[in-house]
């Protein structure tokens, strides 16, 4: 999933303080799972904002709504008939949702309510960690299913570097060394021969380095 983290409420207040009719818009997908921008978080944020403006003696209307997704036209269309009731929207979707909202509702300011962090997993309740950087050319088949692009601080394709100590990364003793994990796993799979080969230079043109990316699938286009 796309993992996001809450933005400090002060930052959101700073953005919206001059508006009077505000919609807090959640998303029922990734940000719900990582508890940053689902229905529950929309409710919490709306209450906090109402409380703040009440204390300020400011009359501000705060409404709540959570869409199935904010990355598809059809769901964003669901609010078209109510959009004229608001002079600003705080979207608790990931950066994708915020932007798609902004593209669709050209004259309404859309503010981000979360910080979009990475593609990751729920390690345990309240702990999410990165697994993928969407480089566009997956090499997991060669690395025992563990990604050095997203999990090695130096993105080494031929690690581990000289800083690896007791299975941990040199930049943080809490962080597993991705290459230790890769070696352990290749060993478990009986594929250590793979480790002995030099992984060639990666083509980064499919990564963000190649500019904004696009996937076109004619087989599913109508």
């Amino acid at each position: 999933m796309i993992v996001a983290d809450k933005k400090p409420i002060e930052e959101i207040i700073e953005e919206i303080k001059n508006h009077e009719k505000i919609l807090i818009l959640g998303c029922n997908e990734c940000v719900t799972v990582c508890e940053a921008g689902g229905k529950k978080e929309v409710g919490v944020m709306a209450s906090a904002l109402r409380m703040y403006f009440l204390n300020q003696g400011q009359e501000v209307k705060i409404d709540e709504k959570t869409l199935e997704r904010q990355c598809d036209h059809e769901y964003l269309e669901e609010i078209r008939d109510v959009m004229d009731q608001y002079d600003a929207v705080v979207s608790l979707a990931c950066g994708v949702g915020v932007q798609f909202m902004a593209e669709k509702y050209h004259t309404t300011p859309i503010y981000p309510g979360v910080n979009t962090c990475f593609l990751g997993v729920t390690e345990e309740r309240g702990v999410w960690t990165e697994r993928c950087q969407a480089c566009g050319e997956c090499i997991l088949a060669r690395t025992g299913g563990i990604c050095p692009v997203s999990r090695c601080a130096k993105r080494l394709l031929n690690g581990p570097c000289g800083g690896a100590t007791k299975g941990k990364c040199e930049i943080n003793k809490e962080l597993d060394c991705a290459w230790q994990l890769i070696i352990d796993r290749l060993k478990a799979l009986g594929k250590m021969d793979d480790y002995e080969k030099i992984t060639p230079i990666k083509d980064w043109s499919t990564e963000r380095a190649g500019g904004p990316r696009k996937v076109v699938r004619e087989d599913v286009q109508q």
Binding site: R155, C161, G163, I171
Partner: protein, 307 residues
């Protein structure tokens, strides 16, 4: 091993002489005198001088420029190059530029992560890793081509070095990684500072068993300790560094004013042991910001005059 570059270090190593290299960290500023002063201290005592590339991710005078200053003094530099700050375009360009200035040795590294430096908010590059940098320099030299396959008008012919850390984990696969670096094109290896001699000897044995010492020149790394505090710091705070407890105790066991002397003694004992290890072809003395001690160490070790 390459026979093209005009590297004196290469010449010495291929003749079977025990090589001596040292390190010179460029200044945090644009004053060439700092480099020249360090060069003066090393002249006559070493075969080549490694010039670090923004080590510990702290901005310094560029390695190429500092190498050039040393060259003008008649010293042979080993240009260290990290993949942290430059993409493949800049790396290849700088390799050619360096060679055009007369720099004939390169040490290919990935580089300390920027989170250790003075500007941890910097973006890192890591377009390629040290392994592929080695291969890139080798391809330029052997095939005369850049990474796109373009035939270069006067390819750089660098003597190629790589680093190895026998003390990092997982230990049993460190030799495989060394083999990969040799396969990628490394001619010589400079190791992380050796304090744990038992582990180093074990690693060397594994390297010999794999036939690697026939394919590459290994220079053992040493750093003279100045105090027990430094020994403890290196053991606890520097990633991939292994200073055994008895050594820390030995440093702590002498009066403070004798600590430097004891550190040098340990260093000399290490060098003496290195000279007896089959497959070790030299010593790399990393006296960090303490270049004035190198001459004394080399002299006391009986390694002067240099060839």
């Amino acid at each position: 091993m390459n026979m093209n570059a005009q590297s004196r270090l290469q010449e010495i190593l291929s003749k079977g002489e025990f090589a001596v290299t040292a390190e010179c960290g460029p200044p945090r500023g644009a004053t060439p005198e700092v480099v020249r002063k360090k060069g003066e201290l090393l002249k006559g005592y070493v075969d080549a001088v490694n010039v670090t590339d923004n080590q510990t991710a702290i901005v310094r005078m560029s390695s190429i420029a500092a190498c050039s200053h040393l060259l003008q003094m008649g010293l042979e530099p080993v240009m260290q190059m990290v993949t942290r700050d430059r993409n493949r375009i800049a790396l290849q360009s700088d390799i050619m530029g360096a060679y055009s200035l007369g720099i004939s040795n390169i040490l290919c590294l990935s580089g300390d992560h920027q989170s250790f430096g003075s500007q941890p908010d910097a973006l890192n590059v890591f377009d390629i890793d040290s392994m592929n940098l080695i291969r890139t320099v080798q391809t330029m030299r052997e095939q005369g081509k850049d990474m796109s396959g373009f035939e270069l008008n006067g390819p750089p012919r660098m003597f190629i070095g790589a680093a190895a850390n026998p003390f990092a984990d997982p230990f049993e696969y460190r030799v495989i990684r060394l083999a990969k670096k040799i396969d990628a094109g490394a001619d010589f290896i400079q190791t992380q500072c050796i304090y744990n001699m038992d582990r180093f000897k074990e690693w060397m044995k594994m390297a010999r068993d794999e036939g690697l010492t026939e394919k590459v020149h290994i220079l053992g790394g040493v750093t003279p300790l100045k105090s027990a505090g430094m020994a403890k710091f290196m053991n606890n705070k520097v990633a991939g560094m292994d200073v055994p407890e008895p050594l820390i105790k030995r440093m702590a066991g002498v009066p403070k004013e004798k600590a430097v002397e004891e550190g040098i003694k340990i260093c000399l004992e290490t060098i003496a042991e290195l000279r007896d290890i089959e497959g070790v072809h030299g010593v790399h003395i990393m006296a960090i910001e303490w270049e004035e001690i190198v001459g004394e160490i080399v002299e006391s070790a009986g390694l002067v005059p240099r060839p």
